[in-house]
Amino acid sequence: MNPVFQYLRSSIGRKQLMGLSGLLLYGFLLVHLFGNLGLLSGPEYFNGYGHLMLHTLKKVVIPIEVLLLGAFLLHLLLGFKVTAENRAARPDRYAVRASKSPRTGFGAYMAVSGVWLLVFILVHVPHFRFGAYRATPLVTYNGVEMRDLYAEAVRSFANGWFTLFYVGSFLLLLVHLAHGVRSSLQSLGINHPRWNPALDFVSYVYAVVICGGFSGFAIWLWSQGGVAA
């Protein structure tokens, strides 16, 4: 059998792909969070940033988006497959369930949080990434017409339910990452007693920064009450 094919079919090969794709998506979130910082500089700056990314730098950004989409689909499909196999590996459940592991807590919710995040992405990406070609209002700065993503964000987050949906999703993201990051590293073979406390620390801090950051923006926009600054 072809070595790559054999590797990709094996339990360990798939877990390593799962981990790599997860880490890639996770890294993207930091870039996204930096982009959101532009909200603090007001509409002109933020909309300019969106225009730069989605229009001016199209040739660079679209291949990256395709890569992220690929990683996302792979992560999703492997997630479903591995979960189904794992259920099949224990056809009869235990009558009494107990645990001696300190790590199991968050790990038990990977499939649930993963499915929720899928729903979130299906709502979020069409709205803010492709909304221009539907309903996002347009503005013109210095003769360049662009999407008014700032106004769209302010308008959307004025709705309390919308904000709650976002913040709730970020909490589930926190749950997903609290297990996912260290788990990915373990699948890739990164585990050493000298470095484990540091890895734990960095992965937890990172998860809190990402989720806290995104939630902070959602709540801040909501608190603006729909009035564009």
Binding site: A98, A108, R182
Partner: protein
């Protein structure tokens, strides 16, 4: 001490099982869990009933034959202890204790609490060995082994193959068992010739036998009576990636050595 036991009874692998409730009375706190079950069985036999089947051999925590899930925990509540080394004083008087078999598709029930762990033998048979020079005994210290490697190999070699890792894993994965064998032999100079084919073949066999995938919940490590660390799993993950992608065709093939 008195206990209320809920014992899993299942006539064979195809039959439907259910719990049988029994009272265990006058149990000495110094009895092991298995001795307590022996007494229950004696009562069953006196009453002309079918004794409950469970496995044991050494009863001193070194053979890996005993295999009971006690109140949801393989080998019971103690850390680093097999069921045969678990004493009744660890339980509260009057407590209800539920006893189940290892549950995994790859470990079919033979009867009651006894399961068939031949799947582990199959995994061992494809790579859990080394080639040795037969004949005169080698010189002591003829092969230098760094202390750190010797220690890691020894930690992994402590595996008694009981299968508690599979029983404890939410996915019934055999990763800790396989990793222990791969680490035990792969750390030592004697294990190098087969190092790549060992990891590839043992993992392929494990996948084929219907064990689940590892999701790094570390339940195995916590349940292991020999407290084998999931670091060995990380090491196997590294070894597997390298060997599967870079190993020779012969190393990756199913065939024997």
């Amino acid at each position: 001490m008195n206990f209320k036991l809920r014992l899993w009874r299942q006539a064979n692998g195809n039959a439907k099982g259910n719990f049988q409730e029994v009272e265990a009375q006058g149990v000495s706190p110094d009895m092991s869990f298995l001795e307590m079950l022996d007494e229950v069985n004696n009562d069953f036999l006196r009453e002309g009933k079918d004794a409950v089947a469970f496995e044991s051999d050494c009863r001193e925590g070194i053979c890996g034959t005993c295999s009971l899930v006690i109140n949801g925990l393989p080998h019971g509540p103690d850390r680093g202890t097999t069921a045969c080394q678990l004493y009744m004083r660890k339980f509260k008087d009057g407590q209800t204790i539920t006893v189940e078999p290892w549950r995994a598709k790859a470990f079919p029930v033979i009867k009651d609490l006894a399961v068939d762990r031949a799947a582990f033998d199959e995994i061992i048979s494809v790579g859990g060995f080394i080639s040795v020079k037969t004949g005169s005994a080698p010189d002591a210290n003829g092969l230098p082994v760094p202390k750190r490697d010797a220690d890691s190999a020894m930690d992994a070699a402590a595996c008694i193959g009981c299968g508690a890792c599979v029983a404890a894993c939410p996915n019934a994965s055999a990763m800790l068992f396989v990793a222990a064998k791969v680490s035990h032999l792969g750390h030592l100079p004697q294990g190098q010739p087969e190092r790549q084919r060992r990891v590839v073949r043992m993992v392929s066999k494990m996948d084929e036998l219907g064990f689940g995938n590892c999701s790094n919940r570390n339940e195995c490590e916590a349940a292991c009576p020999k407290e084998i660390s999931v670091e060995h799993i990380a090491r196997m993950n590294r070894d597997y990636g390298v060997s599967a992608l870079l190993g020779t065709d012969r190393d990756r093939s199913e065939a024997g050595a």
